[in-house]
Structures are given as C-alpha cells and as structure tokens.
Amino acid sequence: MANTHTTHSDIPHVTVGGYLIGFVLAVVLTVTSFWLVTTGKASGEQGLIWLAVLGAAQVVVHVMFFLHVNTSKGQRWHALSFAYTILMSLVIIVGTVWVMHNVHMLMMAR
C-alpha cells in the first residue's frame, strides 16, 4: 500500500496530521467570520470585505489540506484545472455583477 501514491498517482497520500491542521485552521477561520458578524465588529462594506477575505482563506485551507491539491507531480493537472475553473468562476461572478451594476446605473433603475 505504501507505493500506491507513486504508481497510481491521482490518489493523494493523506496523513492524520494534515487533516488535523486543516481542521483547526478551518475552525479558527469559521469562528472568526461568525464572531465578526454576530458581535457587530464589522458591518456594511467593510464587513463584506472581511467575509470575502476569511472565506477565500478557508477555501485555500480546504483545498490544500482536504482536497490535497498541490503542485507536486501527481497533482499538477488537478491544480491546473482547478486554477482555470476558479478563473472562469470569477469571470462569471464578477462579470455578472459588473454588467448588472452598469445596467442599473444606466437604466436609472435605482
């Protein structure tokens, strides 16, 4: 079984330590997000920015420690396709928000 991740390279090798580190980081980031909102420490646009930063950090933690995507040889295509998908997702989300914002402004809907 020890050579599984070398001969069958698309099954990542996993360790207890890796999972625990990822879990602790994820809990800290989640609790911070909830704490900021429920105590009212951050509000309005500043709050949204904090939520986006903490959310993005937690996604990175999950991808590294739970999905085991990294730039090692067996995972290179995973990482590449993931980066491309994130790019496309951002194009969809940012593009939609941008276009619809302009529509509202130019059509005087608001």
């Binding site: 879990f23 996604v59 999905l67 067996g74």
Partner: protein
C-alpha cells in the same frame, strides 16, 4: 501522468494499470464548481430584491447556520479519517468513520430541511420574491448534492462490506467520494459567508 510505468504492469493484471478515474471525477467537480458560480452570481444580483416581503435579516437564524457549518466541517474531518484507515487497509475503521460521516451529513440535511420548512411557514417561500427564489435555488442545489453524497456513501459502504479487502479499486472509489464530500464543504463555506453572514452583516 505516470504513463511510463505502464509496460511493467501489463504483464501482471489488467486491473493494475494506472487509472486516472480520480482525475476524471475531479474534472466533473470542476464543471459543478462553474454551476455553483452561476448560482452565486444570480444570488448576488438578487441580494436586495425582497419585493416588499420578508428580508434575510428578519428570518435568518445564525445559530442554526453555525450548527450546520459545524456538522459539515466535522464530517469532512471524519471522512478524512476514513481515507487514512483505507490506506492502512483497516476495513472496520473505514466503515465506522463512514457511519459517523453519514450521521453528521444527515444531521446537516435535517437542520436544512427544518430551516426551509420554517422559512416557507413564515411566508418566505421560493415564490415570494427574487431573493428567496435565488436563495432556495442556491442552497437547495447544495442540499441536493449532500443528499446524493449520502446515497453514494451508503452504496459505497455496502460495496465495502461485500468486498472488505480495501484493494486499489475500493480505495479509488473512496477517494472519488472524498473529493465530492470535501468539495461540498468548500461550497458551504461560500454559502455561509456570502449568503447567510453577508445578508445579515
């Protein structure tokens, strides 16, 4: 990707060719990611469109969302333990951790169904306003994925019980489901950050 090891394995057994099915499943997850991206984009557009009806601030219950988040996050960890036990060929422990994962996932779904029923009873059903349509579509799609994940988990557990050796094929199947399960947890991070917390902040 490791094609060079092919000839040595050919002689032994057809089964042992390096398979790329985990990467194939990963490709499906990437398309699923784009599906969720469009649902998030839609939700972002409808974030203020309450049509004079109940708003998110009125009805969202953050303590329930925190509990759902805790259940799903813990289930990611327990699935990780199942993967580690699979690497060690400890079939009993794999089944035990899968069972714990199933309970946590089912608890999450139960809370979510409860929440949906509560919202609809308060007059905030999917037909009330654009906001609630977008909300139910996005969160409901995630919930459907979790439901499918639970069904898949049961099927996989039955397969493992029938063939308890934890050979390469079983580990491969488990690896695919683990990607699916962790992916759903990642989508949930975006849901609780941008749907629940961002609507209340």
């Amino acid at each position: 990707m490791s094609q060079s090891t092919l000839p040595a394995h050919h002689a032994q057994e057809h089964e042992h060719q390096p398979s790329h099915s985990v990467f194939g499943f990963w490709s499906y997850l990437m398309t699923d990611c784009v599906l969720f991206a469009s649902l998030f984009a839609t939700f972002a557009m409808m974030a203020q469109q309450f049509a004079g009806g109940p708003t998110a601030k009125d009805l969202f219950n953050l303590s329930d969302v925190a509990l759902e988040t805790a259940l799903l996050l813990t289930s990611s960890l327990t699935f990780g333990f199942a993967m580690i036990c699979a690497q060690r060929k400890n079939t009993g422990a794999v089944l035990a951790w899968l069972f714990v994962t199933f309970l946590l996932g089912a608890g999450f779904l139960w809370l979510e169904v409860h929440e949906f029923a509560h919202l609809i009873a308060e007059g905030a059903g999917p037909q009330r306003s654009a906001f609630w349509s977008a909300f139910f579509t996005l969160v409901g799609t995630h919930g459907l994925h979790v439901t499918m994940g639970l069904v898949w988990l049961v099927v996989l557990a039955v397969q493992i019980v029938k063939k308890p050796g934890m050979d390469e094929r079983e580990v491969r199947r488990l690896a695919c489901l683990s990607l699916f399960w962790h992916f759903l947890d990642i989508v949930w991070i975006c849901v609780f950050s941008f749907v629940y917390l961002a609507s209340v902040v």
